[in-house]
């Protein structure tokens, strides 16, 4: 199998993962598409350097999140730029008002977190355990736990106050 085939299969299989990372670090559809493209480009660029010592998804999370750090947001020139939460809601087949409201609220509060906290809470939402989060972020596993409970508290306070 050619390198291109292996790569395209990988991206197609994990496109939801990339979609989610890029939606957390952006606030409009335009920005998300830009970042998505940039992430795929970076994954391709470093594809040969991937060593089998970690899971491929761990490596993909790392590359995607590292790329997002330097992503510059586009200035909103058009007033009709769609917020990312609305784009995700539109894509959903299930018409559930509670789900939609929760998703809107989640994205609203995620936008207010700093880059580090955003990355950590994203990995929690993805169901990663502390060791996996530590592997991706480079933080100590014990430190991850402390930080995450602090971010959860912060989120809860923000939600109560809003």
């Amino acid at each position: 199998m050619s390198k291109e085939t292996v790569f395209t299969d990988l991206i197609r299989e994990h496109q939801a993962l990339l979609y989610k990372v890029t939606s957390v670090y952006t606030d409009s559809k335009l920005d998300q598409e830009d970042l998505f493209q940039e992430v795929v480009y970076q994954l391709w660029k470093y594809f040969d350097s991937f060593r089998q010592d970690s899971k491929i998804t761990t490596w993909m999370y790392r590359v995607a999140m590292n790329t997002a750090i330097t992503h510059l947001k586009k200035k909103k020139r058009r007033p009709d730029v769609q917020p990312i939460a609305e784009v995700l809601i539109k894509q959903s087949d299930a018409k559930d008002e509670v789900y939609e409201e929760r998703l809107r609220l989640l994205y609203k509060h995620l936008q207010h977190l700093n880059t580090l906290d955003k990355g950590l809470i994203f990995l929690v939402l993805e169901g990663k355990n502390y060791n996996e989060i530590a592997q991706i972020t480079g933080l100590q596993a014990s430190n991850v736990g402390t930080r995450i409970s602090r971010i959860k508290k912060k989120l809860k306070t923000n939600m109560t106050n809003s």
């Binding site: 395209t8 496109q15 790392r62 590359v63 789900y99 480079g138 939600m159």
Partner: protein, 199 residues
């Protein structure tokens, strides 16, 4: 609302996204061809063009330096040269530093820390550049007046309309700089908080 409820919404979204496989091989391969507009490359291009213009002006100043016939014009000339050469080099260096992240191997924490520090350095340089730029008018104007029309404005002075024009330019520049400085301050402050958090 509880965090667990948000997590449930996230799970639902993940399930929806997993069912949607929109990307084709062609779309993915297109994305690998570097056709997208990398905004950092754009910033670097603008800064490189700016630096090139500064270097051209500096070159012109070096060629015509002999026309600066008094010690104070020479001092202004040296100051102008430093501004036109050193600052663009430092800005380009800072931009290069920002881009040297090891996206594949370094951890999120290491890259975030490197990026925030490098970005802060660039912001500070731009702040310094603005401050020096205002001062710069006082030494660049006499130098270029001398080399372009052989007039020493320290001796002949400025006409009233020239004084008004210069004062207006300085005023507008100061207003712009104060506004930009506040923006930079806000950015560097939040970056410093993040850096503290990363330790």
């Amino acid at each position: 609302m509880e965090i667990e409820e948000l997590q449930a919404a996230w799970l639902q979204m993940s399930k929806d996204l997993n069912q949607q496989k929109k990307l084709t091989n062609d779309i993915i391969l297109n994305m690998t061809q570097e056709k997208y507009q990398n905004k950092f490359r754009n910033v670097t291009t603008y800064e490189t063009v700016g630096a090139f213009i500064c270097f051209c002006i500096a070159l012109l100043l070096i060629v015509k330096f002999g026309k600066l016939d008094t010690w104070y014009l020479k001092a202004c000339g040296i100051f102008s040269l430093s501004y036109l050469i050193v600052l663009p080099i430092l800005v380009l260096k800072a931009l290069k530093e920002i881009k040297t992240l090891d996206i594949s191997k370094n951890s999120y924490k290491a890259n975030l820390s490197h990026y925030v520090k490098a970005k802060n350095r660039l912001l500070r340089l731009q702040q310094i550049g603005m401050g020096v730029g205002i001062l710069g008018m006082f030494f660049i104007v006499p130098v270029f007046s001398k080399i372009s029309s052989n007039k020493n404005i320290f001796e002949i002075g400025l006409k009233t309309e020239q004084v008004v024009l210069l004062a207006l330019t300085i005023l507008i520049t100061i207003v712009f700089c104060v506004w930009a400085y506040k923006g930079y301050q806000r950015l560097t402050l939040s970056a410093e908080e993040l850096l503290k958090d990363l330790v």
